[in-house]
Amino acid sequence: MAAALPVAITAPRPLTLLAVLAVMVAVGGALRMAEYLPHRNASVRIAGASAHVQWRVVALWAVAAAFMLALVIVGLIVGDFPVPARDALATVLWDRGGEFDFIINTLRFPRLTVALLAGIALACSGAIFQGLIGNPLVSPDIIGVNNGAALVAVFILAVGGDVSLLPYAAFAGAASTALLIYVLAWKSGVSGARLVLVGIGINSVLAAGITFIQVRFPIERIIAAARWQAGTLFGASWSDARTLAIGLAILLPLAFFFTRRLRLLQLGDDTAAALGIRVERDRLALLAIGSGLAAIAVAVVGPLGFVALLVPHIARLLAGNLTGGVLLLTGVLGGLFLLGADLIAQRLFAPTALPAGVITAALGGPYFLLLLARYNRAL
């Protein structure tokens, strides 16, 4: 893997650039087509269980999942070391321990898995925060959860601490930041606007702390810290994937379950309380779930920007207002987005690889501006 210091960045090869553009246009086109899917609902009832199903959401899942599978396959095949497509798939599926085992099963496949899982966690976290606070411009990175993780991680890297501790330390940083925001925002209940303002205040303090560490410690170590801060999937391992999988296995069902209550909180505290939920308790639970999802992702891949902000909007544009199904769709799209961004980051200037965070921000920034423009027009 060419992840040494980016000494020189070569111009992208025309073929790579073309492939990247083709994929982006294809995804964009497919998503655009999805807007024409009819809004049809159905009731699914089996034994004592029942659910309200939006066919549109199911169709979108299917499309997104197909793209995801395709991207995973592409991700297994392409890379600096050429592996024939047949061999790449065989190595993953049945020929473990074969000729390409190290490249496929130790380098590429875990990295793809981590991208997928981290994308799911970040996007779901963003959807929860945006729903909870009722503001489409909110995400865990804006209110300081990511920087909470970053401050601790940058400190460990700057003092040359044990790198294997990084995920746990980052998780602790994110979780304690979320807790601090909640405690400081508490004033006989927590209102959305207050939470965001407190979060923005804390975020700037954390950012100042990070800058302080950057100017205070030796430059060689700060470079490693800066790389981590950009958000990178370099060196992602099966143990990272396991950490994420365990976290998601706990948090995602909770998020799905609590989405019902989130849908009521979206109608205002009074309506939600009148419909029979305990507003403060459920809001705290949702904040904990949303922060937890952001924290596990940031702990493993670093504070990747824009995924949490951006993907819930795409899901909302495609599938409409938040439901359990739309939350899961948001997750799938988040996985797709990060997977795609990481592939582009690796291949665009190959053999020089970029941190995935550069691509999520480079794609996310313009999209964010587009969104703002759209939002203004709607007002």
Binding site: G48, L264, Q266, L267, G268, T271, A274, L275
Partner: protein
């Protein structure tokens, strides 16, 4: 639709009462004394000047505000001692200016009203489906069910919210100024809908209203509040007098019969009121002065 065959209201409609209620938000009390039983199966209107505590009272009756003293009794039991989801099956509330996420579709909004009836895995029972269809039907919103709420007129939007509250299917329905921000035609439309819900289905309706004349027209029972206490309560024809209105709103008026319904019609007198500030305390005390 089989909805006609299955009336949603239980045989024994729940009762709601405030007992020696004192309400406030941590500072001085907003409501100092409220001791009233809401007549079951009737329409009750709460009127009063701005800031007299009528919305506060409604929030307390809907268990959104914990009383500083006294209690709200739902079916004779303290409302705060009952599981909130169980209360939500019997008592619904439509706040004054409810908020909805951008672009929410009417159908989606109304479905959310089913929450108290849904179980962990039983999320969309035939009962839920019927209740939503019925709520849309009663409010005349069927043709708008796939429309985004932002595209609707003020009156349609209010009807969508009422449909949400109806989907909750509670025999007791509390509404905080359901006609605010609506033009006259839409006000009459919404109040007519509530009146028919009461007459046809026997639901108990409690609403805070700004407009005294509307309150007199649609309510069976009027609660007039002044200075954090009930000034007077009873059927509008019996209790509404020029003296009461002047006491409650600080405005000299004359009362005539509504030419259409025969209910009391309040007409402000010129010139401007003697005292701009509404009086406080019960009517009797003031009347004796």
């Amino acid at each position: 639709m089989r909805s006609e065959a299955s009336p949603p209201v239980p045989i024994e409609p729940p009762t709601l009462a405030g007992r020696e209620l004192q309400l406030g938000y941590g500072g001085p009390l907003v409501v100092e004394q409220f001791d009233t039983t809401i007549p079951t199966g009737r329409i009750t209107a709460v009127i009063g000047a701005n800031g007299c505590g009528k919305s506060t009272l409604l929030r307390a009756l809907a268990r959104l505000l914990r009383p500083s003293a006294g209690s709200v009794l739902l079916d004779g039991e303290d409302i705060h001692r009952q599981p909130t989801k169980e209360v939500a099956k019997r008592l619904g509330l439509l706040p004054q200016a409810p908020t909805a996420p951008d672009g929410i579709v009417v159908n989606d909004l109304v479905r959310r009203g089913r929450y108290p009836h849904q179980k962990m895995f039983d999320q969309w029972s035939p009962e839920d489906e019927r209740a939503v269809a019925r709520a849309l039907d009663l409010t005349n919103m069927v043709q708008f069910s796939d429309r985004s709420i932002d595209e609707l007129s003020g009156g349609q939007r209010q009807r969508a919210w009422i449909a949400m509250a109806l989907a909750q299917d509670t025999p007791l329905l509390l509404l905080d100024e359901p006609t605010t921000y609506l033009d006259m035609a839409h006000q009459v439309d919404v109040l007519g809908l509530l009146a028919s819900l009461n007459r046809v289905e026997g639901r108990t309706v409690v609403m805070v209203l700004h407009d005294v004349n509307q309150a007199c027209r649609y309510a069976d029972h009027l609660v007039a509040m002044a200075g954090g206490a009930v000034a007077v309560e009873g059927p509008p024809r019996e209790v509404v007098t020029a003296e009461l209105i002047e006491h409650v709103f600080g405005l000299p008026v004359t009362i005539i019969d509504d030419p259409v319904t025969g209910t009391p019609l309040t007409v402000p007198l010129e010139p401007a009121p003697r005292s701009a500030e509404p009086a406080t305390g019960p009517l009797v005390a003031d009347g004796m002065a």
